[in-house]
């Protein structure tokens, strides 16, 4: 098991290295000159040149890459070209906001999605199944931004239950924070819940008709144990796979959701940085996103091994 995790972690490091090269080159392939943007349209060529030199943009690309990796590893992600603030500081401020939003959305998705999926499978072909699959289809079909706008109209404007937008840090006022986060989290989690519901349902249907479930029944176990332990345990691999695949979509969903609800998170930071060609910030944003993906994949692999003894005991060399 330890060996398995080490091997997976090793390949994660290689992926990160390759990704760092791609990020570095990709940003530099974008049209436009950041020195010109920073200096302003009317600046003299001398000023532009000075800025270029100050940020090391006049060095050859490999040298710039080495600089970049060295700086990144020492925790220095550069300064925003927009306001000269350290990028690491900006991330430290923005990242927790998005992490909170994503975590809440994930919670909504898992509780609602997996729960509804199990119920739909157990009550197959009956009312709860139709309700769950109906809502699932709707949840999949409705785009985030539209659902976001509708929910603001309903809960904030018409019913006045919740504030329409804005953000209060959790550390400042947890109640206010949750009040403002619950709507975005629900909106972001809906599509995810729908996907999880469908996948859980079909995995559970397969498991419930499996021979080992019949064996469990023949032992006289309660239906809770038959469904909750024997069938669910074998469906979780599917659920974890979908979770891993969809976490990426959750990040891009967060970008849209944060724009609608005016939440100063990672997604909004990304959009603003791209619009102002803020290289250091874009670089950092993409890097953090890649690290996020790689970590999630690593966690998914480890979760597989935990769930499936065939992977765990063969050290991942199953075929």
């Amino acid at each position: 098991m330890v060996w398995f995790i080490l091997r997976r972690a090793g390949s994660a490091v290689i992926v990160l290295f390759l990704a760092s090269i791609l990020i570095f080159l990709g940003i530099r392939a974008l049209p436009g000159d950041p020195a010109v943007v920073m200096a302003g349209e009317e600046a003299s060529p001398a000023v532009v040149e000075a800025i270029r030199h100050e940020f090391g943009l006049d060095k050859p690309l490999p040298a710039q890459y080495v600089d970049y990796v060295g700086q990144t590893l020492s925790g220095n992600l550069g300064r925003s070209t927009q306001d000269q603030l350290p990028v690491a500081g900006i991330l430290a401020e923005r990242l927790p906001v998005t992490l909170e939003l994503s975590a809440l959305a994930l919670l909504v998705a898992i509780v609602v999605g997996v729960g509804a999926g199990i119920v739909a499978a157990v009550k197959r072909g009956r009312l709860p199944d139709y309700v769950a699959t109906g809502f699932g289809l709707a949840g999949l079909s409705v785009p985030h931004f539209w659902l976001g706008l509708l929910s603001i109209l309903l809960f904030a404007v018409t019913l006045r239950w919740l504030p329409a937008s804005g953000y209060v840090p959790f550390t400042q006022d947890p109640g206010q924070n949750l009040q403002r986060m619950i709507l975005p989290a629900l909106v972001l989690g809906t599509g995810f819940a729908a996907i999880l519901m469908r996948q859980t349902r079909s995995a559970m249907l397969g498991a419930l008709s499996a021979d080992y479930v019949r064996t469990a029944r023949s032992k006289g176990l309660s239906e809770t144990k038959v469904v909750g332990a024997h069938a669910l345990r074998n469906s979780l691999t599917t659920v974890v796979t979908v979770l891993g695949l969809q976490l990426g979509a959750l990040i891009s969903g967060a970008v849209v959701t944060e724009q609608i609800f005016v939440i100063p998170g990672f997604g909004k930071l990304t959009v603003d940085a791209v619009l102002t060609r803020n290289y250091p910030v874009i670089q950092a944003v993409v890097l953090v996103t890649v690290i996020g993906y790689v970590l999630v994949n690593l966690l998914v692999d480890i979760a597989y091994a935990f769930l499936n003894p065939r992977i765990r005991l063969s050290g991942g060399r199953h075929d």
């Binding site: 021979d211 080992y212 064996t215 029944r217 032992k219 006289g220 176990l221 345990r233």
Partner: protein, 322 residues
């Protein structure tokens, strides 16, 4: 009084094609420590009959009537919660597919202890120790190591022994074995049958053995019921059945055995099993029967005593080996 008494059991299934009549009124009894074989072709209703005892048929689509009594207690009308106390404890099942009948996500030990803790209220530790004993009982070498393993680490024969260990964990009164050796290599079959015989001798467990393999019947069963199209067509002590089969269908099955082959060719029974959707008042076998007479199409024969009282056959024109 018999240990298990099935009286006039009928089982229908709701399907898209209509009502499938899987079992059409069967009565049989099982004594303490008896090994009773239920035999017949696929679809003759032998598994459905046996699975009606622990009520393991899909509840949504099954329509069941008749009576199933265990120690004089009616099982068909028992509330589900009471039935769960009987399943795995008084009546347990060994299924046909050893490769898929164990849960791949749990250790062998867990799957055995689960039933012990459910019915015997054993502690985790006591159940664990008992699981090792049970594996030893069913002839698994190195049982203390095997309990920690997962099903995929065991061969098919070993898995079937684990299934048997689970089934006998709580010393059931009745063990239902549904084609327990069909999926196994011939070399392993005999070993698994020995386990059943041994359990009967040691624990006095009565066994309902479902099989289409008359070789298995001859090897282990005390008595056999031959089923055709949802009904019992012949029933006799095994030695008597093999010595003097009366029903033409039983004869057909015996002639289809490899040992009975003439010039290396197996004698097959011509024709097809009748539709399970309709039930005309005639002998269900007459269309395939070499002995059929006009009266076979006029009404359905019932089980009548033959040369021995314990030997029953449902045929108007029974006979010896023709």
């Amino acid at each position: 009084m018999s240990l298990l008494e099935i009286t006039d059991l009928t089982v229908d299934f709701d399907t898209e094609d209509g009502l499938v009549q899987a079992v059409r009124g069967i009565s049989l009894d099982l004594g303490e420590g008896e090994i009773l074989a239920l035999c017949g072709e696929s679809g003759c209703g032998k598994s459905v009959t046996a699975m009606s005892v622990p009520r393991l048929l899909p509840p949504d689509t099954t329509r069941l009537s008749g009576s199933v009594k265990l120690d004089g207690r009616e099982l068909t009308t028992l509330p589900e919660s009471r039935m769960r106390q009987i399943r795995g404890k008084d009546v347990s099942v060994v299924f046909q597919e050893p490769m898929t009948s164990l849960n791949p996500s749990f250790t062998v030990g867990y799957q055995i202890t689960e039933v012990l803790r459910r019915h015997e209220g054993l502690s985790r530790k006591a159940a664990g120790a008992r699981a090792v004993e049970l594996l030893e009982l069913v002839g698994i070498p190195l049982p203390a190591r095997r309990v920690k393993e997962y099903p995929h680490q065991l061969s098919g024969g070993m898995r079937q022994r684990v299934m048997i260990a689970i089934a006998v964990a709580c010393s059931p009164r009745v063990l239902i074995a549904d084609e327990p050796t069909t999926a196994l290599d011939v070399t392993i079959q005999a070993g698994v049958l020995d386990v059943f015989r041994d359990l009967r001798d040691r624990l006095g467990t009565a066994v309902i053995l479902i099989t289409h393999d008359l070789g298995v019947v001859a090897d282990i069963a005390d008595r056999a019921v031959v089923m055709y199209a949802g009904r019992a067509v012949e029933q006799a002590p095994v030695a008597e059945l093999f010595a003097r089969p009366r029903h033409p269908y039983t004869l057909g099955l015996m002639n289809a055995l490899p040992s009975a082959a003439v010039n290396g060719r197996l004698a097959e029974i011509p024709g097809m099993v009748p539709s399970p959707l309709t039930d005309p008042d005639e002998c269900a076998f007459q269309a395939r029967c070499g002995r059929a007479q006009p009266d076979c199409r006029l009404r359905r024969p019932t089980l009548e005593p033959q040369l021995l009282d314990a030997h029953l056959a449902a045929c108007f024109h029974p006979g010896g080996q023709s």
